[in-house]
Structures are given as C-alpha cells and as structure tokens.
Amino acid sequence: MAKRIDIEDLDIYYGDFKAVEGVNLAIEPKSVTAFIGPSGCGKSTVLRSINRLHEVIPGAYTEGKVLLEGDDIYAPDVDPVNIRGLIGMVFQRPNPFPTMSIYDNVVAGLKLDRSKAKGKSLDDVVEKSLRGANLWEEVKDRLAKPGAGLSGGQQQRLCIARAIAVEPQVLLMDEPASALDPISTLAIEDLVHELKRNYTIVIVTHNMQQAARVSDTTAFFNLAGIGQPGKLVESGPTETIFTSPKERATEDYISGRFG
C-alpha cells in the first residue's frame, strides 16, 4: 500500500509570491524522507503541496508535477479530496477535533466519509490505529472522553492515529515532535520507525539528530536570500548528506554554522 512520490519541477506560489522554486525529488516507498533547512525556506510549503493542502489557502497555487506512483496528482481531472484521503498529514501543532471524543477523533475520517468505513468494525479500527500510534494502553479506558483532554504528546499521537485510521499510502509529518518533551519525541520517532514498514513517510524537522535517527533519505532546502524563493539544495541518502554533502551550504547547515 505504500506508494512512491516523484516531484518534478515544482514551483509553489502564495498569490504573487513565489515561495519555492524548481523542486525535483524522488520519495521512495516504505522509507522515511526528512526535509531539513532553515526557517522560512519552504519545507512546510512543499509538504503541503504533496497532498494538495497548499491550495486551500486563498490565492495559493502550484506549477509542475507531483506524481503518486506515476500519476500526476495535479492533473485537471484529479479531485484533491481523493488525494488527501490517500496522502495523510500530521501537523506541527496537535489539532484533535474539540467536539469529539478520543474514539470519534480516531474514526473521524471514516465517519465523515462512510464509503471508507464500509465493511469495517469501527472498534477494531480504533484499537488498531491507537496501537499503531502507541497510545492504546494510555487511553483504552477513557475512549469516550474528549480528545482535547489529553496531554500535548498524547494529542499528537491521537492525531497520528486519526491520520493512519484512514489507511493512507503516504504520511506527511510537519515537525510532529517540535512541541513535545524528549520522551514523547522518542515515542514518536519509534512510531515513525514502525510506520515505515507500511507507509511512505515524509517528515519535516529542525532537529538534525532526529533527521539522522529516523530518516533514510534527507532533502536540504535553503533560501538564496530574503524575498527569494526557497530551493531544494540537495537530497540523497541520509548518511551521505550528513557525512559528505556535495554542497557547501548543506555542510554549514548541518554542522550548525548557520540557520
């Protein structure tokens, strides 16, 4: 079920402002790809254009191609709603639905689209997803309680459970651990390791150690200057990027000389 993604000549705009330019990147199935780079270089922007969430911002659009297993998700006859069902996303800030219980949060995607829920026992989906997100033991006795009543780290794992409950083929994670303590962070990193067996994962992180620990491939983005579009400087196996990058900028960034 994991699928590959190929980004070809992607330019991303916010109205007149070109935020990202000329991205070419292959994302392998059943692997973890880390996006690193200084703040404002367009990591989130690229991530959000992989599931067509970028375009919900007024005036925002993209040019170029994003291929999901060879099919362009930006082709004119493609419905973005379907794409988002195939490519799930976990956000930087935990955002469980405040009106819903823990249980309902997990199955929100299924309940809101009944065709996805067909022939499935919701109870099973809840247990499986929460186990997958490493949260089951902590919440199994209070599934009917509101999701907003969990701790920040638990909420983030709840959001991960919600994202994997719809069984996407790709999972995008935008700094999923940036607001969490080291223990929750490790829990999420372990989770990423496990999820890798079934999903294609793209993760944005500001934490170099985290990128080194969890990812197979690393893509380094950078800004040429203020007001200039962000660019993909280089990408490759994480080990290569961290030990012998081709570009000077990558080396400087990783060794902490700037950014």
């Binding site: 379907n82 799930g88 955002n95 639905f97 929100a108 689209d113 994202a163 719809v166």
Partner: protein, 356 residues
C-alpha cells in the same frame, strides 16, 4: 558564622526595604468614604446644595478626590490612577446593574399584582378596559407564532449567509453582502415595518397578518444572527479545517461536521439574543398586523395580537385596570425571553463538546 554571612544578611535586609513600598491602610476605601461623607454633610448644611441625588453626586466626587489625593500623596501616581480607574469602573458597573435590577424588580412587583393563571388563559375579547380581568393568551400565541416564524425564516438564511462570508466569500460579492448586512443592522425597526407594509401589503396586495409581522421581524433578525454567527465561525481555528481536509473530507462536510459543531454554542447564543431583541418590537407589528383583542391563531390572515402591542394597547387605554394588565404583559414578555434563553443554553450545553 563568618563575616560574609553577616554581609549577606545585611544586603538582604537592605533589599527588602528597597522593594517594600508605602501603601494605604487596608480599609483606605472605607476611610475615604467616611471622610467624604463627613465633608458632604458639612457642605449640605452650610451651602444651598440640597436633596438626595445632589448629595450622592457630591459624595461620590469627594470620595474620588479624597481617595485619589491620599493615594497620590502616599503611594505615588501609578497607584492613585489605579484606584481612580477602579472606582470609576466599579461605579459605572453598579449604575448599569442598578438600572437593570430596578427595571426587573418593578416589572415583577407591578406585574405580579394582576398576574394569574386566568391572565395566561383568557383573552381581551369582550373585556372593557375599565374592568379588571381578561388576559393575554391571544397575545402570547401571536408573539410565539410571529417570532417563531421569523426565526424559522431568518435562522437558515442568516447562517447560510454567515457560512458564505466566512468559508467561501472572496472578492466583490462578499464585500457587498457584508456592506448590506451592516446597513441592515442600522435599519430602525419602524422602517422594517414600513418596508414590509409597502411591499407585502400595498404592492403585492396581501392582507395585514401575523405573517407580515414575521417578515418585518425577519429583517431585524437577519443582520444580528449573521454578525454573531460570522464571529463564531471566525474563531474556529483554521487548524481544524485543515486537519479535516487532510483526512480526505470534502469542504462542505468539514463545515457541517467540524466547523459548525465547534461554533455551535456561540451560534445558538446569537440566535437567542436576536429573538430576545425582536420579541419586544412594537412599531413594526402595529404597521404589519396591528393588534387584536381576541384570539387569532392563524398567522396568515387577519390582525393578530402580540405581547408588545398588547402592552402598548393597555397602556394607551390608561385605566387603572388596563395599566395593571400592561405590567403583567411586560412580565410575561420577560418570562418568555428568559425561558427561551434558558432552553437555548440547555440545548447548547447538551450539544457542546464534552469538555473535561
């Protein structure tokens, strides 16, 4: 005990006296009030200033001067200003509260004198203004029907408009819609009544009826509900919308199942406030359905009574019995609004997100 230990102690002592500052005694406000009261007594005794209201104003002004001056002398400028502002805010609040309490107690006390089960179950049919008795069942029914119908029309329209403005509206059309909603907010209620009278009755030739009244009330309700719903939808965090989209949920479903439930409590409150506002309207009803002394349950035909026009009618009869009935009518109107409000809070609470 070493030398440095003693030094530390001295330093600490010096510090605490540097940080501590002079303050007024704990009951400074009470003392100020006493001084102000004494001064007021002197002023009233020695000058032509007389009367309770005048004395109170003098007392209040003196109180502010005494307390602020005292505080300024002892505590300094910042604390003096703080006390002044606190006094002003508290006083204004109490004045507003006093007005409210006064209105409600006088309506309740005067209204209760002729309030009875009979009053709720009979009409004014064949009751002379001079006699006691009669009731407002016909007016209660009229108000419930007119306001209910107005809400039935206004609520869906307003909520859809608000959803359009917040979730979809871009560019010219939404600017114009916002502009018209603003203008509608400022329409005096009698103009709304005239408008419906001119179009519904004079131009289209329908008869005056409770329904025409509902239409006028609808005009008054729409801007209030649109505005409040808009505000409530705007404070739903965008994160939630995006979280829903990211699950592959279409936009309309996201609005229906995520955004509106999140904002539900606030939306209901806004609707209730608009109902409370129009339930007491009199002028537009006189123009569109006039009033009636007997029961007319048919919203679509003939003049229909309502509580505000009942009160107006009883007051204009001017006899002791009818003025009593007017007060009882006002009491019922307040009760109706309060009951509605309570019900709405209940609904909002039952449907609210289960919070910790």
């Amino acid at each position: 005990m070493s030398v440095t230990d003693r030094d530390d102690a001295e330093v600490l002592e010096g510090l605490s006296s540097q940080l501590a500052m002079k303050t007024l005694p704990r009951f400074a406000a009470g003392y100020s009030a006493l001084i102000a009261a004494a001064l007021t007594a002197v002023i009233v005794a020695l000058t032509p200033a007389q009367g309770i209201a005048g004395s109170l104003v003098i007392l209040f002004l003196l109180y502010m001067v005494v307390q602020t001056g005292w505080s300024f002398a002892v505590e300094g400028r910042r604390f003096a200003v703080d006390r002044l502002a606190t006094t002003l805010v508290t006083t204004m609040f109490m004045i507003a509260l006093a007005a409210l309490v006064w209105i409600i107690t006088s309506v309740v006390i005067r209204g209760l004198s002729s309030f009875s089960v009979d009053f709720l179950t009979s009409t004014m049919r064949n009751v002379s203004p001079l006699r006691e008795g009669g009731g407002l069942l016909h007016a209660l029914v009229g108000t419930l029907e007119q306001v209910g119908m107005a809400a039935l029309i206004a609520v869906p329209i307003s909520i859809l408009v608000a959803i359009y403005l917040v979730e979809y509206g871009r560019g010219k059309l939404s600017t114009w819609v916002t502009f018209f909603v603003d203008v509608m907010t400022g329409v005096p209620s009698i103009v709304a009544g005239l408008f419906i009278y001119t179009f519904w009755v004079l131009t289209f030739g329908f008869e005056r009826s409770g329904f025409a009244a509902s239409l006028a009330l609808t005009i008054l309700m729409i801007p209030v509900i649109v505005r409040s719903t808009e505000e409530m939808l705007k404070i739903v965090p965008n994160d939630l919308r995006e979280a829903s989209y990211a699950l592959g949920v279409p936009k309309w479903k996201t609005i229906l199942r995520i955004v509106i439930p999140t904002a539900f409590g606030g939306i209901v409150t806004g609707i209730m406030l608009s109902i409370a506002r129009v339930a007491g309207e009199t002028a537009p009803l006189l123009l569109t359905t006039f009033l009636s002394q007997s029961m007319n349950g048919n919203l679509m035909a003939g003049p229909q009574a309502s509580i505000p026009t009942f009160v107006w009618d009883q007051i204009s009869s001017g006899t002791p019995a009818s003025i009593d009935r007017a007060w009882a009518g006002a009491l019922v109107l307040i009760l109706v609004v309060v009951i509605f409000y309570g019900l709405a809070r209940l609904v909002a609470k039952l449907t609210a997100p289960a919070s910790e």
